[in-house]
Structures are given as structure tokens and as C-alpha cells.
């Protein structure tokens, strides 16, 4: 059932809003604003409130969220979003505060930001944090800016031109490096899926500004040479950068700060349970070791004699990176989440996440190729290339999963595995759900052999089926224009 656009049911005269009458003396508008500055029409629909409610309610039923069912997207950490955190964030004292209010009137908000930073320092082993980056990519960009500013300030800006990035890395890594005009140099992964130390050693010299690493990496494998990797980078004066997308595998077990990372970005909407919102808003705090603290973006929340304030006293700072505030609404939810974890919680989270992923992996060993290792961390990568001979690709297996009421895993990433399904169950899934998923995946494997058409034509029961992406890109229609 296709939901029509509101434009398509718009009828002139329908109304959904109400305003009190004007209480100040009414002056003819053209005396206040010259006619030539005023627009004649806008181009918005006219619908009633009940129709708007039906519209967005029906749209919601066509969406699948973590609250709907299993959502095993690798590297996305689709864990349960606690509802108490939504309620806390909706308190008017947190919604209705302005960034330009007197600091005395927002001490509660500033304390939340400050305390969150303190907790994140402890969790990651880093020395200082900024909570301002708006999303993972923004955090990476901030990290790259800090790197650049640091080397410039110690007189090595000219010679440090390169960023090393493993071939398994997420696309934002090279994109962020390129945005600050660094040259990207790709480091090979060995057959064990980890960074090839020889290739790294060969490429690391004093022209390298930083190595960007995810650990566990995007294949769900822990870079067990991490201490050696840190030594290699630091021996040449380079920075080691941590992409925190996979932190859910390590909470309470290990900290990037202890592994030798100099800059870290976290994804609050992944590891720290804040909702993905259909694509945002997220939040990506960036943590640094002490020597890089002077370069953090301003402002930083500071505490003096139990009073909190925004400080701009960072002369070497990379500058401001946001219009006004950090994503306060998101940070607040993270703060609440960490408080409910307590000292023992992080280990329980990561332990369960890793057990769940290994359980799936172990049960699907006989049906889908995997790498040769015995264990994975919080996510596993399946390589269903043995089904190619039936004409079935990873994409088709994904689409067939939808028929069984589950969200597909991540497809076609990392790029170094040609037909990949990356599965991250997270710790908030029950054994019953995992068993169901395993059963379904086994069934699909059979279907691939016996009745591949079922997969190739999947999904069968969704509101739309295999929208034509080629047509979308060729015959571009990205907006409804009101004539």
C-alpha cells in the first residue's frame, strides 16, 4: 500500500494549525516589510491534522526499527534504545534551554556534558574530550584537523603529508583525510584479515601524519599486533587514530588509550545506545592524549569550584566546529546509559555481544564460508560465494531474510570481501532470537540451492519490492515542485 505524499492529498482551505489572535496592534504588513521583499506563495500543502497523523502513522508502519525486530547490521551496533533515556531527554529543562543563555542558568546541562566527558575518559583511557562533533564522520574530521594543527605547530606541517588507512576501512576514513588535503595511502590486510605489519613498516616514515585504525577492525577481528603497531607509528613521530565504531566489542575489557591510540572518536549512537533516528542525529565525542589537548575544538566545558562553564581559552585550538551547542540531547541519553551500566556493566555488555556473535558464527559454519579463524569478536563476516553458482548473491540472501521478518545484515562491506554479509547481533538480543536467525539462515541456504528464484524475487511481502535504483539515478526526481 503506497502512501501518497501530503502534496497529493492537499486541498486548498484545509488547516491543521491554530494561532492565538495577534495581541500587539496590527500594522499592514507592507508598511513593515516592503512588498518587493515579500514572497507571493510558498509551496507547502494544505491538509488537516487527522490526515497528517494518518500519513505519518502509516509511514511509520512501513518502517522497521530495532523495536520491530532483529537488526544485525555489522559495524552499526543496533542495540536496544532505553526508553527511560528518551523520557529524561524530553524534560523541558533539557529541551528548552538556549546556548546563548547565561551560564548560571544552565549549570545542570553543563554538568551533564562535563560528567559525560569524565566518564568517557575512564572508559577509553584518554585524557581529554570534546563532545561537540555531530556524527562519526564529523568526529573523524575533527581528529584529522587536530592532527594537522598539531604537526603545523611543531613545525612538521610541511613534511607530514600522508594518512595511512587499511584497505578494510570504512569509506569515511579516507574521505575525512582527503577533506583536510592529506594524501591517502592504503595499507594491505594480511590473509588473517589484520593489518599487514610489513606493509605498514614499509610505508611508515616521517612523511606520515597518522594511521587510522578500527579495532576490532571492520571484519570483526581484533588487531592483536596493536602494541607493535603503536610502536611503529610512534617511532616515526606519527599519530595513531582510533575509529571507535566497534567499541562495543571492548567495553570494560580494553581501552584504546591503553593500546597506544592518540586520538579516538566514539559513536554514541552505536556503542552508547542512543537511537539512530533513521539516519541521525548521532554524536561523536573525540578524545585525545594530553599532548593534543591544546588543539581540541572550542569551547570546552570546564569545572572550577563546582561551577561549570564554556572555556574558549585554547589559543592553539582548531577552532569552532558547530553553530552553537554539541548534540546535547544525544549526550544526555549517553550519560543516562553509562550511569545505568555502572562499574560491572561494560564488561557484561561486550561479553554478551561477543558471545552472541560467536554463537551465530559457530552455528552457521557448515552453511556459509567464513574466514579461517576460530573466533570473531562482536561481529562476524559470512562469505556466501558458494551460492553464486545458483545465481544467488549476498544481496539476494539479504532480501530473502526480509521475508522472514528480519532486517538484513550489512552487505558488501568491507570491500575486501567480495560477497559479504557482516552480522553484529549486539548484546540486547535473546538466545531465542539468535536461534531463530540461525534457523532462518540455514533455511535460506537450502532455498538457495533448491529454489533460488525465491531469493532472487525476494522480498515478497513488503510494501515495495526491489525499487529500481538505476532508474532513480538516471531519471532524477528528488523533490515535488509546486508550480
Amino acid at each position: 500500500m503506497s502512501v501518497k505524499l501530503l502534496y497529493e492529498i492537499s486541498v486548498k482551505g484545509k488547516k491543521a494549525y491554530s494561532l492565538p489572535p495577534l495581541d500587539v496592534p496590527s500594522i499592514p504588513i507592507s508598511q513593515l516589510l516592503p512588498d518587493e521583499l515579500q514572497r507571493k506563495k510558498i509551496g507547502l500543502p494544505q491538509v488537516s491534522e487527522p490526515e497528517i497523523v494518518r500519513h505519518f502513522t502509516n509511514l511509520a508502519t512501513q518502517n522497521y526499527g530495532v523495536d520491530t525486530g532483529f537488526y544485525p547490521l555489522g559495524s552499526c551496533t543496533m542495540k536496544y534504545n532505553p526508553k527511560i533515556n528518551e523520557d529524561l531527554a524530553a524534560m523541558e529543562e533539557f529541551l528548552n534551554i538556549h546556548p546563548l543563555q547565561d551560564e548560571e542558568t544552565v549549570q545542570g546541562a553543563l554538568e551533564i556534558i562535563y560528567n559525560s566527558a569524565e566518564l568517557l575518559k575512564e572508559i577509553t583511557g584518554m585524557d581529554n574530550f570534546t563532545l561537540f562533533p555531530a556524527a562519526g564522520a564529523h568526529g573523524e574530521l575533527t581528529g584529522m584537523m587536530i592532527t594537522k594543527k598539531y604537526f603545523e605547530s611543531i613545525g612538521e606541517g610541511e613534511k607530514r603529508k600522508k594518512i595511512l588507512i587499511p584497505d578494510s576501512a570504512h569509506g569515511t576514513n579516507p574521505a575525512s583525510a582527503a577533506t583536510v588535503k592529506y594524501e591517502v595511502c592504503t595499507i594491505k590486510s594480511g590473509i588473517n584479515g589484520e593489518v599487514d605489519l610489513e606493509d605498514l613498516r614499509k610505508n611508515t616514515d616521517e612523511s606520515v601524519a597518522a594511521l587510522m585504525l578500527t579495532n576490532p577492525n571492520t571484519l570483526g577481528i581484533f588487531e592483536h599486533n596493536i602494541i607493535e603497531i603503536a610502536k611503529i607509528m610512534h617511532s616515526k613521530g606519527s599519530i595513531l587514530y582510533y575509529d571507535g565504531a566497534n567499541l562495543n566489542a571492548l567495553l570494560g575489557y580494553a581501552r584504546p588509550g591503553d593500546m597506544g591510540f592518540d586520538i579516538v572518536h566514539l559513536n554514541l549512537h552505536k556503542t552508547f545506545s542512543t537511537p539512530h533516528g533513521g539516519g541521525g542525529p548521532g554524536s561523536a565525542p573525540v578524545g585525545v592524549k594530553e599532548y593534543l589537548a591544546p588543539y581540541l575544538p572550542v569551547p570546552i566545558v570546564e569545572k572550577k569550584n563546582s561551577k561549570f562553564s564554556f572555556s574558549y581559552n585554547y589559543p592553539l585550538s582548531i577552532g569552532r566546529i558547530r553553530l552553537s551547542g554539541p548534540n546535547f540531547n544525544v549526550i544526555l541519553k549517553t550519560y543516562a546509559y553509562i550511569l545505568t551500566l555502572g562499574a560491572k556493566g561494560p564488561r557484561e555488555v561486550s561479553s554478551q555481544a561477543v558471545i552472541n556473535a560467536n554463537y551465530i558464527r559457530e552455528n552457521l559454519k557448515d552453511y556459509y564460508s567464513q574466514d579461517m579463524r576460530s573466533r570473531c569478536m562482536h561481529e562476524c563476516v559470512l562469505n556466501p560465494s558458494e551460492y553464486l553458482k545458483y545465481g544467488v548473491k549476498a544481496k539476494d540472501i539479504s532480501k530473502r531474510l526480509i521475508d522472514y521478518g528480519m532486517h538484513p545484515p550489512t552487505n558488501y562491506f568491507p570491500l575486501i570481501v567480495p560477497e559479504a554479509l557482516m552480522i553484529e547481533p549486539t548484546e540486547t538480543e535473546s538466545k531465542e532470537t539468535l536461534d531463530e536467525f540461525i534457523e532462518v539462515m540455514i533455511k535460506i541456504a537450502e532455498e538457495a540451492k533448491e529454489n533460488p528464484t525465491l531469493l532472487l524475487e525476494a522480498p515478497h511481502n513488503t510494501p515495495v519490492r526491489r525499487p529500481d535504483e538505476v532508474k532513480a539515478a538516471r531519471d532524477l526526481d528528488v523533490a515535488y515542485l509546486v508550480k
Partner: protein, 127 residues
């Protein structure tokens, strides 16, 4: 098995070149178009610009990827195939014929020697 046409020259980055006098017509091979998938857009440049061998001629966009096409020769760009504006899929359907991409007036015929012939490209692309 992708088609590899005789009588053309090939690059390691899967472009083909047809040489007639000092005019080089350039396109991408059948292997390349299959690899890219359905092509949705080709950025067409105006003729007249100077091109060096190895410069990016254009970028070909498919739904799942975007690939740079490198010029196999140096010279002056005469024109790019305007038919690709309305019908980028021509590259998929007729990679060697209607889906040609650019015509270049070469300024150094020696550069042809650096390209592979169809035999060598067949060897190179043996899957």
C-alpha cells in the same frame, strides 16, 4: 566471458582506443562496463581542453560505484559522446560502438606503443 575486440588497443585500466590517423576514439571495455553495473551518469566535458596521458577524462557513475576514466593518450579533446547524456546505458549495451566516450586529437603517436593489443589485453584480463 567478456568481449575483447581485435584491432583496438587497450590500457591496464580497461579503456580501449581506436586509432584512425591521429584521432583516438576512447571508451571502456566490456569487462569494465560489466564490473561497473548499470551506468547512470557520465560527466561530459566540452571539447578544446588539452589532455595529458593519464589525466582523468571523466568519471562514470553507476548505482554502486564511480570510476575515473583515464586518458590513454595526450592531445586535444575534440568532443565527448553527447548521446551519453540522455542514454548513459549505451556504454553497457554497446561499449565498443555507440557507447564510445571521447575523441582526442593526438599530439604524440608514439604513445600507442605503450598500449596493449587485443591479445595482450586478453592475457591481462584472463579471469
Amino acid at each position: 566471458m567478456s568481449e575483447i575486440r581485435d584491432g583496438l588497443n587497450y590500457t591496464k585500466t580497461d579503456e580501449w582506443v581506436k586509432v584512425a590517423g591521429n584521432i583516438a576514439t576512447v571508451g571502456i571495455t566490456d569487462y569494465a562496463q560489466a564490473h561497473l553495473g548499470d551506468i547512470v551518469f557520465v560527466e561530459l566535458k566540452e571539447g578544446g581542453v588539452e589532455i595529458k596521458k593519464g589525466d582523468v577524462l571523466t568519471t562514470i557513475e553507476s548505482v554502486k560505484s564511480a570510476s575515473d576514466i583515464y586518458s590513454p593518450v595526450s592531445g586535444k579533446l575534440i568532443e565527448m559522446n553527447k548521446a551519453l547524456e540522455a542514454n548513459p546505458g549505451l556504454i553497457n549495451k554497446e561499449p565498443y560502438d555507440g557507447g564510445w566516450i571521447a575523441k582526442i586529437e593526438m599530439n604524440n603517436l608514439e604513445e600507442i606503443k605503450d598500449l596493449m593489443d587485443s591479445e595482450k589485453y586478453r592475457e591481462y584480463r584472463k579471469e
